[in-house]
Symmetry: C2
Subunit: 407 residues, 2 copies
């Protein structure tokens, strides 16, 4: 029995460079089915549903959809709304009124949880309805997935940024601290390790939320690296915390000497980088200390995209439509690595993904907790796509000195 009705696609949470690939994959695939009467896009995620803010995507040309697919950030806009039961009842009232039978929600673990709640409500109200979660997050923190669409491109951004900063730091030496997104999972910060090409290349130290951050140990490590190389490049996750789980940015702000920023969000401010820089300057007496906070650039910069990530983001969108419309089943699309490098997609139970957070496994972090392992680099490399960046150095020999006698 074919389930006839409309499709609604929506996007939730933080945008990524390839989130519109998933949108376009779901839309184009849905438009092929005769039982699909219309394909709607909800504006601003679930809040667009309760407000009946739909656009009719069957009136989009395939060509324009393809142009939107290569444009970063959520073309249907986003929301941070997290529906409760009452919110869900509103969602259903609207979906029923518009005869919507298929709902595809592109988002992270919060969005997966939304889909789970909406699905439960559909079942309990006997409304014939398919809802599928399509994965995306630059944080790469979804359970049941080898990795998530959006991560590869953001990781490429972080890698390209650190390749450049490492060269800059060699040319004009000092301490440089790069702050990367990732509240609970260090995958994105760990991508900085791709810049470690030559033996003295940074980042020399990588701090992840998975390991407690010890300020004294940090200062000691920076000192050692600086003494060895005359410079030190550090990659820090915005979510680093101390052994009691207190975020370092909160802790440093409590210090009267450095207390400054009135806000508490981790992204969209340079606070953590600036505070760590101050501490390095004061304690180690190093003059040239700089920090860069990558901020929103890492999730929406135009043109820094992994082609592998692009392909996979497209496919998870297509697979959502296929599972829901051909096979009439609910769930979360998950990515599974089947070779090096090949993947396949499954439909996993929503409860396996919803509201859970995957963090870096132990084998990806070195023993000292201040760098990654080769196993992580091996894991990451194919996700960066086929056009991985690589810096080159001059290798010309030194010329013997004439005036200054060499030792």
């Amino acid at each position: 029995m074919k389930l006839e009705g409309k499709v609604v696609v929506a996007q939730g949470g933080g945008p990524t460079a390839v989130i519109n690939q998933s949108l376009v994959g779901a839309v184009l695939e849905s438009r092929k089915f005769t039982q699909v009467t219309k394909v709607y896009g909800a504006i601003n995620g679930v809040s667009g549903i309760i407000n009946e803010n739909f656009i009719d995507l069957t009136q989009e040309t395939t060509h324009n959809l393809e142009q939107v697919a290569i444009t970063p950030s959520s073309a249907l806009f986003s929301t941070r709304d997290k529906p409760d039961e009452k919110y869900c009842q509103e969602i259903f009232k609207v979906l029923k009124a518009h005869d919507v039978r298929y709902f595809f929600y592109i988002g992270g673990n919060d969005s997966a949880d939304t889909v789970r709640i909406v699905n439960e409500q559909a079942e309990s109200s006997d409304y014939e309805f398919r809802a599928i979660h399509i994965p995306k997050t630059i944080d790469n923190d979804l359970m049941a997935n080898d990795h998530t669409p959006g991560y590869g491109s953001a990781a490429k951004f972080v890698a390209d940024a650190f390749i450049g900063i490492n060269l800059d730091n060699r040319a004009l030496p000092g301490v440089h601290i790069g702050v990367v997104m990732g509240r609970n999972a260090g995958f994105l910060t760990a991508a900085s390790s791709i810049a470690q090409k030559y033996p003295d290349d940074g980042p020399h130290l990588i701090y992840l939320p998975e390991r407690p951050f010890d300020l004294d140990k940090f200062l000691q490590s920076v000192k050692e690296v600086y003494e060895k190389y005359g410079r030190c490049l550090v990659a820090v996750s915005e979510g680093i915390r101390d052994k009691d789980g207190v975020p370092i940015v909160t802790k440093l702000r409590k210090n009267k000497e450095t207390d400054a920023h009135g806000n508490v969000q981790l992204s969209g401010t340079g606070a953590l980088g600036d505070l760590l820089s101050e501490i390095v300057k004061k304690n180690l007496g190093i003059k040239r200390v700089r920090s860069d906070t990558f901020g929103y650039l890492q999730r929406s910069f135009f043109g820094c995209v992994s082609d592998v990530d692009q392909h996979e983001a497209r496919e998870v969108g297509e697979k959502a439509a296929q599972f829901a419309i051909w096979h009439n089943i609910d769930g979360s699309i998950t990515i599974h690595r089947t070779g090096y490098y090949s993947v396949d997609y499954k439909l996993s139970p929503l409860k396996d993904v919803a509201a859970k957070t995957k963090t870096m496994p132990d084998e990806f972090i070195n023993e000292a907790g201040d760098n990654v392992t080769d196993a992580f680099k091996h894991y990451l490399m194919p996700l960066l796509g086929t056009n991985v960046s690589s810096a080159h150095r001059l290798r010309a020999p030194r010329v013997p000195k004439i005036l200054h006698k060499e030792l």
Copy 2:
């Protein structure tokens, strides 16, 4: 009479994405001349000369030089040293000892001034010597040049960043402040205007060092834009100052409520963006206010390069060798626009470029002093290269509401 001797190439000041194109252009062209006995690279600019830190670039393969050419940041490293007369005497002692007759210095207006001083010293000491300044700076602030190598690629970075942030800001609305490098000249910040594609696209406000920054006017303008679009994207130069010339970052820090950062450098800290965000939050009561400081990413990010910039950076390096070795004359290579879009290169007197700063001409800035003109965009467009980014939107029509009556 051919002047026989060695060539020394060096790089000074802040790195750019294409500075190694100029290096490689000068090296490969120099290696073709029979009167050139060796081509050396000085490590860390002029400080490499006085310390006799040379590498022998005649031992580099052409292939590796081409790989280095496409790698960002100064391959010979850099320096902030600014030679005085005594320093210059040291330079000459070394150059004479190594029989160096040609000196090519790739850098900004400070480096041009170094070349000028070195040249004067050569003349007064009767040492037969050619010194040429090769232009580079992401700030685009060299006199006598239509624009400078390094600017196009950095401008492309800023444009791509704002295209992405504009989309992000549409998806999750609020106020976003992007802080761009440029202490005295606003050219790089102005490149953010390329993101203004659709009528409501940001940056809605662009603040440059060329116009006094008025905090009250700023808050009023942000309020107006926010009321109109429900969001506001602002591009700010790190060098903005008030009507008395006091940098805004210094001024805001003096305010006890926001005083925080102990350092005074403009780049390598998120201070200005964070302070402006605080003020918007406090005064306008807008909750979601974020800032991004582009920092070092804009001058050394791997892979964000304008091909036009790449070609020109290569050519100014080649031209330096040609002028010095074929024609036996000194000066600064300058770029002149001859059509739309074509350029030619001249050798200009060093005094026309050295230690001077070009700022945005009046016709590039709107009357209110908070945006750029079409004349600026026309000027900038060809410098971004042949692969200019462009965002695309969904254009599907709204679906009539069923439950919520439309007005």
